[in-house]
């Protein structure tokens, strides 16, 4: 199958946070508490990627920009990769796989349990995003992937509970989520613009080539 420009672009954008993190880490600019900072950055990147994936379908339909259909899977997958990296930062680098430290933490802290559930729930979605599975699963694929609505909500709950008193940051993320969800309701879902500006149409075609 042909690799399109949007796939290349999407993957390039997806690895930028990882490269940034490695560069900052090597050059010692990741604050005095680099493990903590890297945990936060991987987690945030995951949320941004997943939130973006929720906007792909509405953007593709309303603006007739099919390029967003193609980038949805990449964006969701990066959301999973960074969530997993976030989990590794916590278990491997922060707690050094010391189960006598990690298990009580998970036992005691609801925000960790919620985060862990969200991560585990992302696994079947990531695996079934492989094209062969998607074709074989047919309608049930769509049903399975509706789970991302709930997983995103869990992830945001994880963030809100992990926030130290600051209400603004979680409120912004939750608002972005709710706006994306509004576009799942029939009235907004059927919104369409009349005519796509020529230059946007061209970019769309170009990226799909």
């Amino acid at each position: 199958m042909k690799i399109t420009k949007i796939q290349i672009l999407g993957n390039l954008i997806g690895v930028i946070p990882a490269i940034y993190l490695m560069y900052q880490s090597i050059s010692g600019k990741l604050s005095a508490n680099p493990i903590q900072t890297a945990t936060v950055i991987t987690g945030r990147t995951s949320i941004y990627a997943i939130l973006f994936s929720l906007y792909c379908t509405p953007l593709a339909q309303i603006f007739k920009l099919s390029v967003f259909h193609r980038i949805r899977k990449i964006s969701g997958l990066f959301g999973f990769y960074y969530a997993f990296a976030h989990f590794l930062m916590f278990t491997l680098f922060d707690y050094q796989l010391n189960l006598s430290w990690i298990l009580p933490e998970i036992q005691q802290k609801p925000f960790l349990q919620i985060g862990l559930i969200a991560l585990v729930a992302l696994i079947p979605l990531a695996i079934s995003s492989i094209d062969i599975f998607k074709r074989k699963m047919g309608k049930s694929w769509k049903k399975l992937h509706y789970a991302v609505y709930l997983i995103t909500a869990l992830t945001l709950l994880h963030v809100a509970l992990a926030s130290k008193g600051d209400l603004i940051d979680p409120a912004i993320l939750i608002t972005l989520y709710l706006i994306a969800m509004l576009f799942r309701f029939p009235k907004l879902r059927s919104l369409r613009i009349n005519k796509l500006p020529e230059w946007l149409a061209r970019i769309n075609t170009y990226l799909l080539s």
Binding site: M22, Q24, S25, I26, S27, G28, K29, L30, S31, A32, N33, P34, I35, Q36, T37, A38, F93, D94, Y95, Q96, N98, W101, P104, E105, Q108, K109, P110, F111, L161, A162, K164, G165, D166, L167, I168, D169
Partner: protein
């Protein structure tokens, strides 16, 4: 008791800078440092004299922990008055005006006074105290503070028999402190101590660290340091000290009553919904270490809480 060192013996900068080299070597030998090599490489470009390990070894806290690097102490702070980020306060507080600065000390006292920041420096001998600082977010530092026991001021103002608690307040000035525009918190920052805690010899008002005046992000020009309590108790940039009858409600008690209590003693057995209180990361190190009861000052302070249920009085 904690060793008290006169200011004259404070380490020259060149010597503590050399510790960074030592750390670099130590870090490069741990596997985790392969990925998180930040501490190791940060100052590889800065020219430092040969490590003076002998002189260096003498700069430790009472448990032989080496000092945290000056750059880390001044570059990684919690100062929500400027920003909820740990690194932003350093930049945002650059132009913070610390002179003139007056601190009003009143309430249930016989001799209320208002002191200028220079009065604090001239009236009280400035001593160095090397304390561990344990943040409620499960990271810690070892900091060579300059300051003097709070008790010395209390002896001058003479609390009356009505004074049971002491209440501290940080400057409220959203023009200078942009974080105070964040409506998530009930500004200004308030903290409090019981009078016996305030009178304890370990409790100091600090005006400097590493032999220099405090930087704004560390709470210039004057802040509290209570080493057996979580860092947020050690209120920064104080403008008002008031002796009161009732237990003051701190900013964090108001913002999250189920999470933050009045006492906030470092206690590995009382858990917090977000951060492990059983372990901590010492800034500059990669692994985790066990958190000590009262941050390792049990011998000095445990008697203050005899008969109290510390699970309830968290």
């Amino acid at each position: 008791m904690t060793k008290i060192i006169p200011t004259s013996q404070i380490t020259p900068e060149a010597i503590y800078l050399s510790r960074r080299r030592f750390l670099k070597q130590a870090l490069l030998t741990t596997p985790a440092s392969l990925l998180v090599a930040s501490c190791a490489n940060r100052d590889s470009a800065s020219p430092t004299p040969n490590p003076v390990f002998a002189a260096f070894a003498s700069r430790t806290d009472d448990q032989n922990n080496p000092l945290t690097d000056f750059e880390d102490i001044t570059g990684y702070t919690n100062f929500y008055e400027f920003s909820t980020s740990k690194t932003e306060p350093t930049n945002l507080s650059k132009n913070f005006q610390t002179e003139p600065w007056k601190v009003k000390i009143d309430g249930f006292v016989n001799n209320p006074i208002t002191l200028d920041i220079d009065d604090f420096r001239s009236m009280f001998d400035q001593e160095e105290r090397i304390y561990r600082m344990r943040c409620v977010e499960a990271w810690s530092m070892v900091i060579p503070w300059i300051g003097f026991p709070l008790k010395k001021i209390l002896d001058i103002v003479e609390p009356t028999s009505d004074a049971k608690y002491i209440r501290f307040e940080t400057l409220y000035d959203p023009n200078q402190m942009p974080g105070q525009n964040n409506p998530s918190f009930p500004w200004p920052y308030v903290e409090g101590l019981r009078l016996d805690e305030a009178m304890h010899d370990l409790t100091i008002l600090s005006t400097g660290l590493y032999g220099k005046n405090l930087t704004p992000q560390n709470g210039a020009p004057i802040r509290l340091v209570v080493p057996w309590k979580y860092g947020f108790k050690s209120i920064k940039s104080i403008v008002h000290i008031e002796l009161v009858r009732e237990m003051p409600t701190s900013l964090w008690m108001a913002a999250g009553p189920t999470e933050y209590g009045f006492y906030a003693n470092v206690n590995p057995n009382v858990d917090h919904p977000r951060w492990s209180q059983a372990t901590e990361r010492r800034i500059g190190e990669t692994g985790r270490i066990d958190t000590q009861m009262f941050n390792g000052y049990t011998e000095e302070v445990a008697h203050l809480y005899e008969g109290m249920d510390l699970t309830k009085n968290y």
